[in-house]
């Protein structure tokens, strides 16, 4: 697909001899958002790890901007505009909030710009990331990834296990990023309604295979629920 930011072509991948992704093809359009949904254990996180380069591909091709990146290491994919917010509010716990951000850049103006999006973080800059709450750590994880200036943002369950008032803040940020137009978003999210509101299309993954796909928006809610109920 000529206008795809990220494309999977018949990708099969797994851990050792056990394959968890089976011949998946999907694409994330340039400047658009895609929601990837499915039950626990469907292979969503594994598919994202394939996109990032953390899980090697057994067969098939991964393309970013039409370039084959299947064998590229994760850091090289970041250089090509891929940003990844992993599941579990991951941070470098022994480093301060500021040091976490400075891993990407030491440019203060760039850090300040990203911090404007997350009002809770500026007061926590000198606190060790390991001492932050789950919601604060997730905001840090998103801020840190945004500092890499991604053109394709991959988020793995960004609101999982976070208290409701912080969830609303994170959802607002993701919705704003998705509607920017210059950023492609691939979102794995358990909150189906939010995921569909924030993206233009969806895929449903079950047992490592795409079982349903279509245009997003509130009207897709029933179709997705039906696909996931099967």
């Amino acid at each position: 697909m000529a206008d795809a930011k990220l494309e999977f072509v018949d990708v099969t991948a797994g851990y050792g001899r056990s394959m968890v992704i089976h011949g998946v093809s999907l694409s994330v359009p340039l400047g658009g958002g895609v929601a990837l949904m499915g039950h626990n254990g469907a292979g969503k996180t594994s598919l994202l790890r394939v996109a990032v380069g953390l899980l090697p591909v057994r067969s098939g091709t991964v393309l970013i901007d039409g370039e084959d990146v299947t064998r590229l290491r994760p850091n090289k994919r970041v250089a090509r505009g891929l940003g990844y917010v992993p599941q579990g509010q991951l941070s470098f716990p022994q480093m301060t909030t500021l040091e976490n951000l400075q891993l990407v850049t030491t440019q203060r103006s760039a850090i300040d710009e990203v911090l404007d999006t997350f009002p809770a973080l500026p007061q926590l800059l000198s606190r060790r990331a390991g001492l932050l709450s789950g919601g604060q750590r997730q905001q840090l994880a998103i801020a840190r990834t945004l500092l890499t200036k991604p053109r394709l943002l991959i988020l793995d369950e960004p609101t999982e296990g976070i208290q409701p008032n912080v969830v609303a803040e994170i959802e607002a940020v993701i919705a704003a990023l998705s509607s920017r137009g210059d950023l492609s978003v691939l979102l794995v999210e358990q909150h189906v309604g939010f995921a569909l509101r924030s993206t233009g299309s969806y895929y449903v993954l079950e047992s490592g295979r795409i079982t349903s796909s279509g245009a997003g928006g509130p009207g897709a809610l029933d179709a997705v629920r039906a696909a996931m109920a099967v």
């Binding site: 953390l54 290491r73 579990g88 941070s91 022994q94 480093m95 990407v104 932050l132 990834t145």
Partner: protein, 293 residues
């Protein structure tokens, strides 16, 4: 008074030398988790560098200063070659790393023996020939030089880890390698540079060791196990713990040696560290975080 002061000062100098050897290990073992038994031979490489430098620059006061960067680079390059040829294939297999680097250690010792069967006679700089009077004890300037060198190494390493982008990337790679990679950090390059610096620090220790005692093929063997113990007892990844443990080992060994013999003193110290690790396996210092982090 002198009988109390002398072991304290001598032990502090021994501890300083041990600290320089342990600082390199604090990086390669404490941060990266690599059990490199050939680390001691990088001290030997530092001593050989001091000897070679004296062969080129005859003024011992100048040559010892020149020997420091030469030793750092030479030992660092040896470490880099070891990382590229052996260790990078074994990051997930600590036992294999241990066995392979023991082999490398023996090989390097043999190589040294073939070229310098009676050791390398490094001449002591005339500027460091004197003593400083401390409560009646004539403290050799060479020992004070070793302590200063250890402090410079410690400050340099601490500043590198805390204030530089490369230092932050070392810490990030150690704490969560996949996450570091997904932020664009080239973790393989970080590994190699970390190994270079860790090994280079051992080279500096070798220069200091060549000024204090004789330098033969067993120089590395003398320090390697104690250096590992110091890093573990201090708490992995904790520089302040490494400093305290190195000083405590150096001073306690010196006091025990004063009361018994040198060999018995080492055995007693070794035993005390082992008992300490039984009681506190995590070492002197640990880092507290919330559960998920």
């Amino acid at each position: 008074m002198e009988s109390l002061i002398a072991p304290l000062l001598n032990g502090t100098a021994d501890g300083a030398l041990l600290l320089i050897a342990a600082l390199g290990l604090a990086l390669t073992f404490g941060q990266m988790g690599v059990i490199n038994m050939a680390h001691g031979e990088f001290l030997l490489a530092g001593a050989v560098s001091a000897y070679w430098t004296q062969g080129v620059v005859s003024n011992t006061n100048i040559s010892i200063l020149l020997a420091l960067p030469v030793a750092f680079v030479f030992a660092g390059l040896l470490g880099l070659v070891l990382e590229i040829t052996v260790i990078q294939w074994m990051y997930d297999r600590p036992l294999d790393t241990l066995l392979a680097t023991v082999g490398v250690s023996l090989g390097l010792q043999q190589l040294f023996l073939q070229h310098y069967p009676s050791g390398v006679p490094v001449k002591k700089p005339s500027l460091l020939d004197g003593q400083l009077d401390v409560f009646g004890y004539a403290w050799p300037l060479r020992q004070i030089f070793t302590i200063c060198l250890a402090l410079v190494c410690l400050a340099g390493l601490a500043a590198l880890l805390r204030y530089t982008t490369f230092g932050r990337r070392i810490r990030a790679t150690v704490q969560n390698r996949p996450l570091a990679e997904t932020l664009g950090i080239a973790t393989r390059s970080v590994d190699r540079l970390t190994f270079f610096i860790g090994s280079g620090l051992a080279g500096l220790g070798g220069v200091a060791a060549s000024l204090i005692g004789g330098t033969n093929s067993q120089l590395g063997t003398r320090y390697i196990i104690l250096a590992f113990l110091v890093v573990v007892a201090g708490g992995l990844g904790q520089l302040r713990g490494t400093v305290i443990a190195a000083w405590a080992v150096g001073v306690s060994t010196a006091y025990f040696a004063d009361w018994t013999t040198g060999s018995l003193a080492s055995v007693i110290t070794f035993g005390l560290v082992v008992v300490f690790l039984q009681v506190r396996p995590q070492g002197l210092f640990t880092i507290r975080t919330r559960g998920l982090a």
